[in-house]
């Protein structure tokens, strides 16, 4: 008996297959439909986008997280699975607009702060957040505080995520917090920070809401911030 299409979406998230051209963890999967094709099929069959999102994509990503926690999966597995979810979300997006779900869990603007050119960590966070169902706008590297806040305001972001690798540039994170305060947005937009030289203490020092030590912590912290709502 053939598998239910939702189960196939879950399987392909676990395999990290964005589309039919991707290899999975198991060999011999190239040519078979990946997440993008399966989500398209599911929508055509009239399956509700909520069901595809929650029982397919999100469930798949939760299982990936469980496998990571148990040591079965590694970072490359998480990232490829997140990419597969992102491919599925792109197909879903037109169907979510108007249903109040286009932003998934919430909207996040990410950037590496001004004068800092490092982006590996920030990219990992972006991929993982997208895989976890957040809508992410990634502004890239060396982004001035004013520009970050401007985009956050335009997009109606819930969270600004800031990255820095250098102890000479991490101080620029504080400028973003100040800019939000000046524009009267601080109560509306949460700030989370990350990067090798940063810490919980540093987050408190500059008035940020939270610190994530890695991409997984970033997902947890983002979830917590959104649940906490406007308690800032």
């Amino acid at each position: 008996m053939s598998k239910d299409i939702i189960e196939m979406i879950v399987d392909n998230v676990l395999q990290g297959r964005r589309n039919k051209d991707d290899e999975g963890i198991e060999e011999g999967t190239v040519g078979q439909p990946g997440v993008a094709e399966l989500v398209g099929d599911a929508l055509e069959k009239g399956i509700e986008p909520d069901k595809i999102l929650l029982e397919g994509l999100s469930r798949g990503m939760e299982m990936v997280g469980e496998k990571y926690e148990s040591g079965e999966y590694f970072i490359p597995d998480m990232l490829t699975a997140a990419e597969a979810v992102e491919a599925g979300m792109e197909v879903m997006e037109p169907h979510l607009v108007g249903k109040g779900e286009s932003g998934g869990k919430g909207k996040i603007v990410l950037a590496t702060v001004e004068k800092d050119l490092h982006d590996i960590g920030k990219n990992l966070v972006a991929i993982m957040l997208k895989g976890a169902g957040f809508s992410v706008t990634d502004l890239g590297i060396d982004v001035p505080a004013a520009r970050i806040v401007e985009v956050a305001e335009e997009e109606g972001a819930d969270i600004i995520g800031l990255s820095a690798l250098l102890n000479t540039t991490m101080i620029n994170m504080e400028d973003v917090v100040k800019e939000l305060e000046q524009k009267g947005l601080r109560q509306k937009v949460k700030v989370m920070i990350g990067g090798a030289p940063t810490s919980d203490d540093f987050a408190r020092e500059i008035g940020a809401d939270t610190y994530g030590k890695d991409a997984f912590a970033a997902i947890r912290e983002a979830d917590k911030l959104l649940k906490a709502g406007g308690d800032n």
Binding site: G16, D22, F74, P76, D77, T80, L124, I127
Partner: protein, 513 residues
Amino acid sequence: MSERGVIISNPYDRLSKEQVELIDKTSLELLQHPGILCYHEESVALLEKTGAIIKKTKEGEHDAWWVSIPPGAVKEALETAPSKVTLGARVPENRVVLDAEKTRVHFGSGSETNYWLEVEPETYISKDNKGERVFPIMKKKRGNLELLCRSAHLADQFENLDFFIRNVNVQDADITTDNKDVNVFFAALNNLTKPVISGVADLEQLEKVVKMAEIIAGGSDELRKNPLVAFITSVIKSPLQVVDETAEKLIAIARLGLPVVISTSPQGGSTAPIDDVGMVAQVNAEALAGITINQLANPGAPVIYGAVPVRARMDDLHDMYGVPEFCHYTMACAQMARYYKVPCYSTAGVGDAKVPGIQATMEKMLTHTMVPLAAPGLVHYAFGLLDKTQTFCPEQALLDNHQIGMIKFLQRESGVSSDTVEKTKKVVEEVMHSPYRMYARYARGMLRRGEIFSGFPFEGELEDQDQTLLLAHEKIKEMEQTEVKHLSEEICNRIFDKIPGLLPRLNPYREVK
């Protein structure tokens, strides 16, 4: 063909071709002048038939003979010595096939240590903040049969251990010269499925040990095809002396047609020159003398060139293993054995350090990395040895197993080919046009195919304390809980019926009853 061990793609030649020939010539000249001092009459008789010049002498109370061995006798022995030697095992996939013309290296344990170092975690309270901390405390025990069985069981599980040399000197009250060999061979054969190599303490016991192996192998012919046991004879007492009793064993084993290692272990600075040239010329001459006697006793008998040259410490003349000279000596010897097309038995991984730690790791990493590069067929002493070779520590053996895994991984081919560079270009193109320009997807493929080294398995989480040994201890405890692959009940009982001297407590089936 053996699939165990690792192939060294480009062996490191410490000596040039001319230097190899020069050492060969020098060793042969040393065997003529001064020659060897032989305490074993039958060996003298065998050598005399080759045209050796013999001169009887007296060393203290013992008869001895100066023997000037003609180069032709050595060359003839090297002609008859096989270049391939099989070390059998209870399961076919664990057999080791040594081929002196190939460069596959196998790693094994050994040798008899007096002490077993037990790691015991103990909790301490900090004087400063009253916080609790767990530290590994080391406790030394005298070796016994039970520890030998435990060691063999662990050795069976170390994926990078290819052959077992007894690493615990059993000191039980009921072990005597008359029953030691049968009991220690049985303890090994009944607790692991890999090749067993060992010395014999008493020539009288050799026949019983072979009979035991024949029962396990399924007969006399089967044992020769699948020699579950091989032997080590330290026939040479450096410098250049042939020991009476050991030569007797060497000849007996040769006539049984079973593999034997000619092991010579001079110490640079006391029983051999400390310099590279002098050491290698002498140890090579000693190994050649042993091979010659072995082949004269039984031409074509499986024999292994064993060289274990060590350096003396300058403060107390104890052996030193974790020093660069040790690598120089052993790597040159491996090259000499390959020149003679005789399989080589070599050494790496001994810690001069008394306990596991930074010193041990540095010493072990040096020789574990360097010696295999010279591509000896067998590398013994590679698991768990500390305090020169006085102490065996199972946790250290586990760490050594991982270190050898790294050394084996180092030998992987680069994989550069016209196909792979085309694939690389395609991947780079794809990644450069992807949103985050990351290669994680491609890393995953290699990860899942086992092409990425797994990293250090004993990495702790504390930021201010090394937890390696504590984590290794946890793993050892787990490994000791696994089922032992004993011989079948029928074979065990047959062995106990046929071989006198075995201690009943070693039979797992009879004990259960």
